[in-house]
Symmetry: D2
Subunit: 137 residues, 4 copies
């Protein structure tokens, strides 16, 4: 429960004329991984938005180690690094499913806002679900 | 005033591993052309949305004649084909600016809806501005 | 074996400010469905390219019936409609997995080309695999 | 000549259901800015590729300060930060053209490779053009 794993298959549209997945595709993949992480914790992002909470991205770091190619199956591992009522950060590892080779490492930092983009605190209950500290009794 | 012309430069991210612009990129370009057409008529799409009107796409047809390549400068011509208070259609020609070669022809059909996606009629005044029938006195 | 079915989950990046999946996203989904269809027939698109064959899109038609939303699970059915050594067409139905509601119907037509984009004939053997006419003895 | 400036208009397809430009769009914009920087220096990226040189992205950092919205006109400033025969880095500032408000700051680091993705040295002549150190005599 500390790390989610998402399976991604590289789409043709995600390749560029270098013959590899374009570096911007990884941001979409990290987003899927983040979504899956929250779902795993029992708090789908969709539910967050229904509760008037959004988590816009404040910061992104990506370090590309090796290219991903069309039709490659990738595994994106996501972990919550830091979580406060107003700020979150996630770390990610994108690897090739077939041989486990690490293709990219990244992190994202997020604010908590209301639906109009204004900073807000996330209710403690939701926060503890995301943080995984709530006992599943 | 019957046709708008938009200049587009093919982005690297829009290419795929065939070494040409991916066929889905054209939909983004037609959307820019539509936006420019409405701006030319004095009714930016942004203003439409501010007036509670949206124009979701009902139908798309695209016929690709020749590939567009990275860094090519393209001209997208847009024309309003049909306009009623509840339905619009546009036709487009994408050509290479350098030599005028036609790369793609397309059309889109749109409904008029409110901000919740429900069908609505467009007020006559706005309709006549878009249709170009209002005298600019 | 006459129809492939691909599962897609709508990505956040695929939504637009209407709050629905942008109409261009469907082209990426149809492409995945096409890829899955060819894989089902035992001729992955990747293998086609390795054999010096590409299938650029000549024509697209899309008819949108209802919006797809963030995190929706979609099923894309793909069928081969016509197949000759120089031309292919596919038909698709995108439906919401949960209730089977049809969201979009579409078709694409493709040329067969070499890796430089020149028209070529597809070898009979490959053609019959794609067409499903080869007995799996 | 030390900084290039690129004008970008936010596309509808680049927005997401938060009603702002998706954070991945910025990578496409930085790429345009990089392309324009190289063009300004007299060494279009297209020419680099024609000379057998590619500059895949090794690292990305983005810090988002304020959202960009549909149809906003943006200015992306790009500067070369570091340039060696095997490694480049660029820094960028994305601001709203209308009022100069800074929306995002970023940097990218690049390797020099051949067309097959293997590390290579960039010829001194090309390097000095990109670096701006060659006298335009």
């Amino acid at each position: 429960m500390d790390e989610s794993h998402s399976e991604i298959r590289v789409r043709y549209v995600e390749t560029d004329q270098m013959g590899i997945a374009h570096h911007s595709s990884y941001l979409a993949w990290l987003e899927i991984a983040r979504t899956d992480f929250l779902r795993m914790r029992g708090m789908p992002y969709r539910t967050l938005e229904e509760n008037g909470i959004r988590m816009p991205v404040l910061e992104v770091r990506l370090r590309y180690r090796a290219p991903a190619r069309y039709d490659d199956s990738l595994t994106v591992a996501a972990r919550l690094e830091r979580s406060t009522p107003v700020r979150f950060s996630f770390a990610y590892t994108v690897s090739r499913t077939e041989d486990g080779k690490v293709l990219c490492e990244g992190s994202t930092e997020h604010a908590a806002t209301d639906l109009n983009g204004r900073a807000r605190r996330i209710p403690r209950e939701i926060c503890s679900v995301i943080g995984g500290s709530r006992a599943e009794s």
